[in-house]
Symmetry: C2
Subunit: 374 residues, 2 copies
């Protein structure tokens, strides 16, 4: 998100209470249920974090084992969903694919009573990567892949399905860490959309469908793809510096910098940047990482805008062989944990979210019969 002005768009206006997350407040500036994001990124697995968000606590080993086994058992796709994924054009926006897949799942496996909500949430966590990569392979190489692998982690499962073989531990662990960083972010636009939908006491699939639609936008989740496209435009750090200066002079939007809530840095950036460097060295890259650093520097020097979570995530994914158009969908596979946590929190103390508006339209108009209208 690139956003400098702090007025309008409900900036700084509280839309409710949450016990899930702080942004720009305690510890490193990002906590999930009180745990500092650096602690979680350094020490926890994504599945532990998912349990923390969706099931309210960091699991002990027995709880984690049960959770992992449960999620693994829920990866399969109903035939109806597979048929729809095959029917969706191969050149569709993958976020539209996930939005449609989740919506159809809500028809085939409706949530029903809210007492089923944890089950519906776990199911979504388990099968989003299946939807995405089933569609991806069907349309890129004509294969109907098996969406059930033996990998315990979502990160391993994802890369296994994508590349057709289990990933290296470095790649698995790196993707796992980015999933932790992306899991939750308080009342960001997609989560807030999910809460607005939930506030009418609608179902979980409606709320998640709306959230995917919001995350799709370039001012939100779409930023990591836009960052990659920017970085790949340049052939040297010098060209990148000049190119960004030119873009700034033209007042072009540059994605992956600044944030609505953070003011001086995004705590997730240092983690992503470190991982990007490690993968660049392993990949043998001598260009994209340096271009990224050059873009980061000129944005700070010229605009005092810092790289946010999306900027270095782009090259991290690129070095793992993930196609750019799957970057934002990976965000979905992670953020589903935060979304469902917020949906359940909203329901626990629900109030319809219905703001007021400032009217700036015409005063009372005289109705003129159609035959007398100009």
């Amino acid at each position: 998100m690139t956003e400098k002005k702090k007025t309008g768009g409900l900036a700084g206006v509280s839309a409710g209470a949450t016990a899930i997350c702080t942004v720009g407040k305690e510890g490193a500036g990002l906590t999930y249920r009180g745990y500092d994001i650096y602690d979680l990124a350094d020490n926890a697995s994504f599945e532990e974090v998912a349990h923390l968000l969706m099931h309210d606590k960091l699991p002990n080993q027995a709880e984690l084992d049960a959770f992992v086994a449960r999620i693994k058992s829920m990866r399969g796709l109903p035939d109806e969903v597979k048929q729809v994924l095959e029917m969706i054009p191969g050149d569709s926006h993958p976020m539209d694919v996930l939005r449609s897949g989740v919506s159809i799942l809500g028809n085939v496996e409706p949530e029903g009573d809210f007492s089923n909500q944890k089950n519906a949430a776990d199911r979504l966590l388990a099968c989003l990567p299946s939807m995405l990569l089933y569609w991806h392979h069907f349309h890129t190489d004509g294969r109907r892949i098996d969406v059930e692998t033996d990998d315990d982690s979502l990160a391993g499962h994802f890369l296994h399905m994508l590349h057709g073989k289990p990933p290296s531990e470095l790649h698995r662990k790196t993707l796992d860490t980015t999933l932790i960083l992306y899991a939750e972010h308080e009342f960001n636009a997609s989560t807030f959309a999910a809460r607005v939908i939930t506030g009418t006491l609608s179902d979980m699939h409606s709320a998640v469908t709306g959230a995917i639609g919001a995350l799709r936008g370039p001012l939100h989740g779409g930023a990591n793809e836009a960052a990659m496209e920017l970085i790949q435009k340049f052939t040297s750090p010098e060209e990148a510096t000049q190119g960004v200066l030119d873009m700034l002079a033209r007042k072009d939007k540059i994605m992956g910098f600044g944030h609505r809530v953070y003011t001086t840095s995004d705590p997730r950036n240092s983690v992503n940047k470190k991982m990007s460097k490690i993968l660049a060295d392993e990949f043998g890259d001598t260009l994209l990482y340096e271009i990224s650093e050059a873009v980061e520097k000129v944005m700070w020097d010229e605009k005092k805008l810092f790289a946010n979570a999306d900027f270095f995530a782009a090259t991290v994914y690129h070095f793992m062989g993930i196609p750019t158009y799957l970057f934002t969908p990976i965000f979905v596979c992670s953020r589903i944990t935060g979304w469902t946590a917020h949906i359940m929190e909203q329901r626990a103390d629900n109030k319809l979210i219905r703001p007021a508006a400032d009217y700036i339209g015409p005063g009372l108009q005289v109705y003129v019969p159609i035959e007398d209208r100009a």
Copy 2:
């Protein structure tokens, strides 16, 4: 919406500016682009109102003719959408059907550049009734209906497809009037969801998909169905009075009464009530209308809660032979005009909608390695 408390849920908090609608302010308490809802309900057609909302002005005759012809030409469904509608189970929630239909349409006919937005909006207005009734007939009587009729009005087209023959002018005009009343309502929850999604610069289908998901909830569009179910529970006005008293004593939620913004009455109710009486007399009903009046009276006497737009709309639709589970989807077929007007307005002066939250969770937690957790 039943909502009495005016705190929380952004009640009374401005989330932005709009030139489209006033609620509880001027004229009768509801205006569309400055026109009083009573003027529009008494004198305009739904297509004129749709043009007013989506194309910024009441059309003259030539503009209206062109608009009607254009919408008529856009009623057909792509094969992919028909196939998905056939695949969606017949016992699905029809709001889930529309949510999925719109999402799939966004894959098959993506909006693309925002310069195409008016076209995408018109297309949705034209084909929502087609989606709904194609699915309805396929699953209730096994027929693949023709979704292109010669009816000029959406109301006539809808009833024609539903009943397999053109409706009486009384029924067509009555449905038309309810569509006018439901078309737009400022920053209601579904419209606000659409604006939050639009705020990330996402596409129109994402925003409308989210809006449908929000309208689905019983605290929003679902209220007209809940009202019908309540009315049909009783066999006499006396039983209704006592039944509602019992429900109030048990603190049960009673749908179709009160409103987040209106404080003493909903201007749409008197129009719906009058139409319900006319149709009751035509239908030969001597019960449901009187039960509705009894419920309205006891809610006012006991709780000072007034019937809102949803309460008498229920019997209006019932007397036209519309199945209860299609009531909220009809709301979608109308409100698409307001939603798309707001999506276009949000884009014209966009700002990411990202509020803050009050943190009520735990303070900074000490991270404990998994082997040491209880």
